[in-house]
């Protein structure tokens, strides 16, 4: 408890009454955790008699005659008046509104009321509700201005975070992560979410410009927990157990072999019929090719009869299941088989925290075991943290914060690779429902090999040669292993020296981070891709190490009502990343993924090192008058190794002001209902040096890059396609923020509304050049764009009774992106960037519908002679040419912005009689997404065993002439033709979390020696509503990328987790 406070309050109540007659004693306790409250003021109503509670929360008072009411008050708690009774126990409730909220900002903390910038905070209690391996996932829908997307559901993977839109074109738009005051390099999933006290998102320039080079896309400040002042050691144990399932189901695909074959038959029939105009020939052709086209026969057709009749229906005498004498073939449900059930998730955390006069400490141990949703995929995290500070001398405070994490990640390869035969998600979602997953003997029993391994159908190992995907991801996932063991240490040491001038301090922070990732992959010698080489192993090592140094001089002083706070300092950052990758083949033990278990040397082991260095000088001045008027200014000069000599340095800074109107004397009349009203405004300039090369980090973007290659025995650097430009320098963003914050009705309703405008100038991006020049593009600084919008946050207590409380929260962010200056037009295969548009302006051919033979419906382009049911595309809609033609003669056209323009979340929290319940939702509106996966499922030609969406049943036929879906036709390669036909709304509503808990009354738990006991159930990611079943717009922020190799549609699916847990404190 606060020592100074004790003395101050004690002075008020020093005078006891000499007329005392009745003695009462009692204890004051916190209702929250049942802990005694030390130093609470207990005063006899109507007298000056009183005292403070002792370390056990106890008090003893003598009541003057006729007085039996006691007023009990304590800072941060709601005061209470009770009737005195000997041996009484008084519980005080925390008073959220009464606590002056302190938020963590750049290089320090600030009172929320004094903060001129824009920030949003997520607190431990909300984070702990979520069953997430990365705390960032908890931000989904929780705070305004923050968008969270995740294309990789593998547990342990961080999602992608964007703050107030996408600020850059080719430079990285990811925010800076700061952990306990120091920029953090590791993955956020390496931090145990249970250690996090707050995640504070700094959104505007006045909050983050002082981070200079790295704050342009916002800053997420993660603060870990610490001991509460004056608190004895508190031990908290938390355990939760749950199960994972796939959150979003597959698209509505054809799920039985018969329907699939009938559809394929129609496609084959149409190919022949519409080319040759010959019905009999078409039926012959379709029947001849129906099984060979797919490479799999799973129906037995009576000798001499046709499988499918001229009525396009399966011969009633055909029956499912086919044997060639050696094997028996019948389709299996790949989807059901691939996602194993019972994917346990368990998590245990233990923390101890407390403080003494000179020392504050926090220790934690955590263990997480998340099995994902497929075989061989899992994530285990063992984390430990020790954080302590010590007042060594009156003028010297030292501290350390050590976090060690050991992560064991089993992340099977290829799960995010579109089209890969090793991708269980791609295969299970897209394979036609005609293929067996297991090899069966002729009698229908499962085949096991001599080693007892159940033999799976690889598409090549039986008499039936599957044409969709050779191999079988299920056997890979079962027999291969993928292990990454990651040790990471984040160690911070610091010293704060009180210099002789009062208020002047020197703060030195040194932070070392090191992460070592050793990856051992084992590819089994029995089945799958490495059986030819008798197995293979990869052993890789990745090391990231960085040193961050900060030397900060701070000065804080009050002159009457004037208060100043100054900061000057230097910061440097030096990061090194090294990799070593090796492989070997031909193994002995089929379960050991080490090089010594293999004999054949690798053809190309590789290693390399890259370095990234920045340094900067920084300063900040903050002033306030009477805690009413606040002004702040910051400046930073930053240098970066990513630019060439002469272009390395940039100057950044900000100005901010706030006015706490509610403190003005003229507002006294509103004091009854208006707790707080603040207006704030800020402006700032920030830099970004983080030019990316696609999704790849690039540390030397100004240099042409060559790779040393073996050219017939000579080592020669060969240009690897990356063209640099020595003239590039900082991309700069100019941000304005204006806002109003308010709190009404004693905290019953609070919120804020803000307007933001971030203009990015001298954008770093890759200027496209003719491919014929020998590379595709080179980086330049040019052009500008803005992201602007409003953010709204509201939190209200709609019901507040003695034992019942219901709170609602909501947030909403609008974002508008516009390219305001762009020297050229940058056309991609799906998007266009040009002045006046957004950076995610879609640019696709325009689908016009289906040719129905009606000349009045469409104008045909010259020379175009469509066949009935053909897909039609407009020739050149951008130039007003709406004649229709085939795909290759149609031009790309503007299809509008695809970015969502509104997103946010809302939720409800209720408490009643010890029970608590909350539900949180996230949403997004007004955007569109390119639905690649659906495109693949709607291909007219049914690409060799690729499944169809059931929507294909509605394809054009002469009988279904009004359809807008082109004719099924194996001869028309329409399948991958990208057009606006597959651009759909990305609106979604998701239920991100439901938590229901019960806190056992304190007096019950104390009897068993505990101070608190809570049991709870939580469900994460339980529901998603979108334009189409199977579509998950949260996988990509924008329209995604094409199926040419890395679409985000067939990646590791998101998880749905349902858990139960228990929390105990003592």
């Amino acid at each position: 408890m606060k020592k100074k406070l004790t003395m101050f309050l004690a002075s008020l109540f020093l005078v006891g009454s000499a007329l005392a007659q009745t003695k009462v004693s009692g204890t004051v306790l916190s209702q929250e955790d049942g802990q005694p409250i030390i130093g609470a003021a207990v005063k006899v109503t109507g007298t000056s008699t009183g005292m403070l509670t002792d370390v056990n929360g106890r008090f003893t008072l003598t009541l003057p005659t006729g007085k039996n009411q006691l007023e009990i008050t304590y800072l941060g708690y709601e005061g209470k008046t009770v009737t005195a009774k000997n041996g009484m126990r008084v519980f005080l409730k925390t008073d959220a509104a009464a606590l002056e909220e302190v938020i963590v900002v750049a290089y320090g903390t600030a009172k929320k009321s004094a903060f001129t910038g824009s920030a949003a905070t997520m607190k431990a209690e909300d984070i702990s509700k979520r069953q997430v391996s990365s705390a960032l996932n908890a931000l989904t829908g929780s705070v305004s201005g923050v968008q969270v997307t995740s294309y990789d559901g593998q547990p342990g993977k961080d999602p992608i975070i964007r703050i107030r839109g996408i600020g850059s074109m080719s430079a990285n738009s990811k925010p800076l992560y700061v952990v306990d005051g120091v920029p953090f390099d590791g993955s956020i999933s390496s931090i145990n979410p249970a250690d996090i006290e707050t995640m504070n998102v700094l959104k505007d320039a006045s909050a983050s410009a002082i981070y200079g080079s790295r704050g342009a896309n916002g800053v997420v400040i993660i603060s870990t927990k610490q001991g509460r002042k004056g608190q004895d050691a508190v031990v908290t144990l938390d355990a939760r157990w749950g199960v994972n399932n796939r959150a979003v189901p597959n698209y509505d695909v054809i799920d039985n072999a018969g329907s699939y074959y009938e559809t394929m038959y129609r496609a084959l029939y149409n190919e022949y019929y519409y080319a040759m105009d010959d019905v009999t020939g078409a039926h012959d052709y379709a029947n001849q090719n129906i099984f060979t086209n797919e490479g799999c026969q799973v129906f037995t057709v009576p000798e001499g009869q046709r499988f499918i009749g001229t009525d396009f229906h399966i011969n009633p005498n055909a029956r499912l299941g086919y044997s060639d004498g050696k094997y028996y073939y019948t389709p299996d449900n790949w989807y059901d088989e691939m996602y194993n059930t019972g994917n346990l998730r368990q998590e245990y955390n233990a923390t101890i925290s407390g403080s003494t006069d000179k020392m504050n400490y926090y220790m934690s141990l955590g263990y997480l075991d998340d099995k994902g949703i497929i075989n061989s995929s899992a994530y285990k995290r063992y984390s430990g943290r020790l954080k302590a500070d010590y007042q060594a001398k009156s003028w010297l405070k030292v501290g350390a914060n050590l976090a060690y994490t050991f992560e064991k990640q089993e992340a099977p390869g290829f799960q995010n690779k579109w089209g890969s035969s090793g991708n269980a998600f791609f295969i299970a979602d897209n394979i036609a429902p005609i293929y067996p997953i297991y090899v069966r003997n002729a009698d229908g029993s499962y085949l096991y090999d001599a080693m007892g391994i159940q033999v799976l159908d690889t598409g090549t190992n039986t008499g039936q040669k599957r044409k969709f995907s050779a191999g079988n991801p299920a056997i890979d996932l079962k027999l291969n292993s993928y292990n990454q063991e990651i040790n990471s240490i984040n160690a911070k040491g610091y010293a704060i020296i009180d210099l002789p001038l009062d208020g002047l301090k020197l703060n030195a922070n040194l932070n070392a981070y090191a992460s070592d990732n050793r990856e051992n992959n084992l590819y089994n010698p029995h089945y799958g891709s490495s059986s030819s080489t008798n197995g293979a192993v990869n052993v890789n090592h990745y090391r990231r190490q960085s040193l961050n140094q900060q030397y900060l001089l701070t000065y804080q002083h009050d002159f009457g009502l004037h208060s100043i706070d100054l900061l000057a300092g230097y910061e440097s950052y030096d990061m090194k990343y090294r990799l070593l990758e090796t492989n070997k083949q031909n193994i002995f033990l089929d379960y050991v993924g080490e090089l010594d278990n293999a004999i054949k040397y690798p053809s190309s082991p590789k290693s390399n090192t890259v370095r990234y260095v920045t340094k900067g000088w920084l300063g900040r001045a903050q002033y306030n008058y009477a805690q009413k008027y606040f002004v702040s200014a910051s400046y930073r000069r930053d240098g970066s190794s990513r630019f060439a000599e002469g272009h390395k340095w940039g100057n950044f800074g900000s100005l901010g002001a706030a006015w706490l109107i509610s403190k003005e004397s003229f507002m006294e009349s509103t004091a009854a209902w208006l707790d707080e009203l603040k207006i704030k405004v800020s402006y700032g300039i920030q830099g970004n040096d983080h030019l990316m090369n696609g999704d790849d980090e690039i540390y030397y973007p100004y240099q042409d890059i060559y790779t040393v290659t073996d050219v017939n025995g000579t080592a020669v650097p060969i240009f690897n396609g990356y063209k640099g430009n020595k003239d590039i320098s900082w991309e700069t963003s100019y941000s304005t923020n204006m806002g109003i914050e308010f709190a009404l009705l004693k905290g019953r309703l609070s919120g804020s509304i803000e307007y933001y405008n971030r203009t990015t100038k001298d954008m770093l991006y890759y200027k496209p050049v003719p491919v014929s020049i020998g590379y595709e593009s080179y980086p330049i600084n040019s052009g500008s764009m803005y992201n602007r919008g409003i953010e709204l946050n509201l939190e209200g207590t709609v019901l507040k009774l003695k034992d019942v409380e219901i709170r609602l929260n909501m947030n909403l962010t609008t974002v508008k992106n516009k390219v305001t200056d762009y020297p050229e037009t940058n056309k991609g295969s799906m998007r266009i960037i040009e002045e006046g548009g957004s950076i995610y302006e879609s640019y696709l051919r325009s689908y016009a519908g289906v040719w129905r033979g009606d000349n009045s419906e469409y104008t045909l382009a010259e020379g175009f002679e469509p066949v009935l049911g053909d897909a039609l595309y407009y020739v050149d809609p951008d130039n007003g040419n709406y004649a229709v033609t085939d795909y290759s003669n149609a031009k790309q056209a503007h299809q509008g912005n695809t970015l969502a323009n509104v997103f946010g979340g809302f939720g409800l929290t209720a408490r009643a009689y010890g029970f608590d319940a909350s539900v949180q939702f996230a949403y997004q509106l007004g955007g569109r997404v390119y639905d690649h996966k659906y495109q693949g499922l709607m291909s007219s030609d049914g690409q060799n065993g690729h499944n169809w969406s059931k929507d294909i049943y509605d394809a054009w036929t002469p009988e279904n002439a009004q359809s807008n879906i082109p004719r099924l036709d194996t001869g028309v390669d329409d399948s991958q033709y990208t057009s606006n036909r597959f651009l759909v709304s990305s609106d979604y509503l998701s239920m991100t979390n439901i938590t229901i808990g019960y806190t056992v009354p304190a007096r019950l738990v104390r009897s068993i020696g505990l101070s608190a006991l809570r049991i709870y159930f939580a469900g994460d990611n339980l529901a998603l509503w979108t334009a189409r079943k199977g579509l998950d717009p949260r996988r990509a922020l924008t329209m995604g990328v094409s199926t040419l190799g890395n679409g985000y549609s067939d990646t590791y699916a998101g998880l749905k987790t349902i858990s139960g847990g228990i929390t105990v404190s003592f």
Binding site: N608, K615, S641, V711, V716, P770, N826, D973
Partner: protein, 558 residues
């Protein structure tokens, strides 16, 4: 208090020391600065640079890089495979695993597809390599530098020659047609560079000038290995160019010159015996009939057992291959195969309709512990399909090896004999016929008799020989365009002889727009001088059964 000051001063000292250096360099990759500087310091490094320019067109993950890991991105051989498939001579399987099905159905005319992008970009990437090499030789002061300069120019000429044949109709009758953009000196910066399509004539003039210069400057040059050109190869290129230009005298002269110079290096046509060893032929620069080849050895692939190489996609003999492990074998058009005489050794370069060939009799392959006669499925290996090629060999001749590397022929002396014969025959049919007969008889079919040729005329007979001899080596579509022939895959609806899947059975008329490649969308998007309207017009994707009446004079003879 002094302590405090001391400490603070100490901290300031630490700051000064810790001022991290902002000049960092990668350790592993090489920057442009490091490259230029080291070459300037040591001119001898330019020999390697020259070799690397040649290597560029055949390197793995050629255009899109390893991150995309595309299985059709293996450079020049991928262009040859696409070319042969387009032309109808290489038959591909209708399968989801056939990366070249876009060449089978002419989907590769789609400007957004990866295949045409690769085939465009790989030549231009090599041109950039050549220009970078040339820029590193500001003045050719020594014989070495002179030869590197000559090689850079000659290689660039080869690239433009390939491009002009793929993106424009043939020289004769089309000299003023738009061809391709050219980078004559420096393509380091786009500023001020006109990247419009130059005319066919302009491109040919440039090619000829550069080749002439190269021949002169390569006098006396001894190449390090056959991955690099020398005078004989350049004469070979000049012969090819002259043939297209229908400059018969020169074509014959240069072809002869190439043959003579090659002979001085010991390069002579492969004997019948030498081309009957399935597995160890058409796989190595060491073969005596290769004048120039792409070098692609074991150290040039990322890992052993790589699916993204030409061997995996063309050769039928290695495991870890798209051919053997997904059944996407490359077969010859059975119509063409049927024209080969039984006495011709080349008939055995492909298995017959029953998957037999005299050249594979008694040979075995094995996989995953199983062994079977070559071509009979075992382990993960598929059965051969009818007319599967066994022409292209496999690393060290080991059937079923997982090592999917191998050299690829760029120019063989046999081609020079065929050019010589054709050019001679254009001037004087008898002389040409004699030359042709002598060549075929000596080296391929002892029973060959020109007078009993199956084709109707000399031109068709030379073409037939070229199609058989050079199958899969990238000449098929160039010849169709040069000879102004239709592209013929099948002979009408009742044709059951062709091994083309019915879905790919169609023919295209001579000089049809679809026979030309289209310039990729990204070139058009990045090139202010070429708009979509300036692109080649490919018309609609050909459908099953079109133009059944067309014949080419070769595939319809038997």
């Amino acid at each position: 208090m002094n302590k405090i000051y001391t400490l603070s001063l100490g901290a300031v000292a630490v700051i000064t020391v810790s001022c991290a250096d902002l000049d960092t360099q990668p350790d592993g990759e090489v920057t442009g600065d490091q490259f230029t500087e080291s070459v300037k310091r040591d001119n001898a490094l330019l020999e390697g640079v020259t070799k690397s320019a040649f290597f560029n067109i055949g390197k793995e993950y050629n255009v899109f890089g390893i991150s995309q890991g595309r299985a059709d991105d293996f450079g020049y051989p991928a262009d040859c495979l696409s070319d042969g498939t387009n032309a109808g001579d290489i038959v591909g399987v209708n399968s989801g695993y056939n990366w070249f099905s876009v060449a089978a159905n002419y989907g590769d005319r789609n400007v957004n597809y990866a295949n045409p992008y690769e085939r465009w970009a790989m030549y231009y990437n090599q041109i950039k390599c050549c220009n970078d090499l040339l820029n590193n030789i500001p003045e050719a002061t020594t014989p070495e530098l002179k030869s590197y300069q000559a090689l850079g120019k000659a290689l660039r000429a080869f690239d433009y020659f390939q491009l002009v044949q793929r993106y424009a109709l043939t020289y004769a009758g089309h000299t003023t047609d738009p061809a391709v953009p050219m980078y004559l000196s420096d393509n380091d910066k786009t500023d001020g560079l006109t990247t419009a399509r130059q005319t066919v004539e302009f491109v040919y003039n440039f090619i000829e000038k550069e080749l002439d210069e190269a021949v002169t400057n390569l006098e006396g040059f001894i190449r390090p290995d056959k991955s690099v050109m020398n005078q004989s190869v350049i004469y070979g290129l000049k012969a090819r160019v002259s043939l297209v230009k229908q400059d018969w005298d020169k074509a014959a002269e240069y072809a002869q010159k190439a043959i003579d110079l090659a002979a001085q290096e010991g390069i002579v046509p492969a004997s019948i015996d030498e081309v009957s060893h399935v597995g160890s032929m058409f796989i190595s620069n060491d073969e005596p009939n290769w004048m120039w080849g792409l070098s692609f050895g074991p150290t040039n692939i990322e890992t052993d057992g790589e699916y993204e190489t030409w061997v995996s996609q063309i050769s039928s003999l290695a495991s870890y291959s798209y051919t053997t492990e997904t059944g996407c074998f490359r077969a010859i058009n059975s119509h063409l195969w049927n024209t080969i005489a039984d006495s011709d050794v080349r008939k055995g370069w492909w298995v017959d309709g029953d998957c037999q060939s005299p050249l594979i009799e008694g040979l075995l392959w094995s996989n995953s512990g199983e062994t079977a006669p070559l071509g009979v499925g075992c382990g993960n290996l598929f059965d051969f399909i009818p007319y599967t090629n066994v022409k292209f060999g496999v690393y060290q001749g080991q059937f079923g090896t997982t090592q999917t590397c191998g050299d690829f022929p760029m120019m063989r002396v046999e081609e020079m004999y065929l050019i010589f014969a054709e050019a001679q025959g254009r001037l004087n049919e008898t002389q040409g016929a004699t030359a042709l007969e002598q060549f075929v008889k000596t080296y391929r079919d002892p029973a060959y008799n020109y007078a009993e040729k199956p084709t109707a005329n000399f031109i068709d007979e030379v073409w037939r020989q070229r199609r058989i001899e050079l199958w899969g080596e990238g000449f098929a579509m160039n010849d169709i365009l040069r000879l102004k022939k239709p592209m013929v895959r099948y002979q009408g609806t009742d044709d059951t002889i062709t091994n083309w899947a019915q879905t790919y059975q169609f023919n295209l008329p001579a000089e049809d727009g679809t026979l030309l490649m289209t310039i990729p969308q990204s070139e058009i998007n990045g090139n202010e001088y070429i708009s979509a309207d300036d692109n080649n017009k490919s018309g609609t994707t050909p459908r099953m059964g079109i133009n059944p009446e067309l014949r080419d004079g070769v595939t319809d003879v038997r």
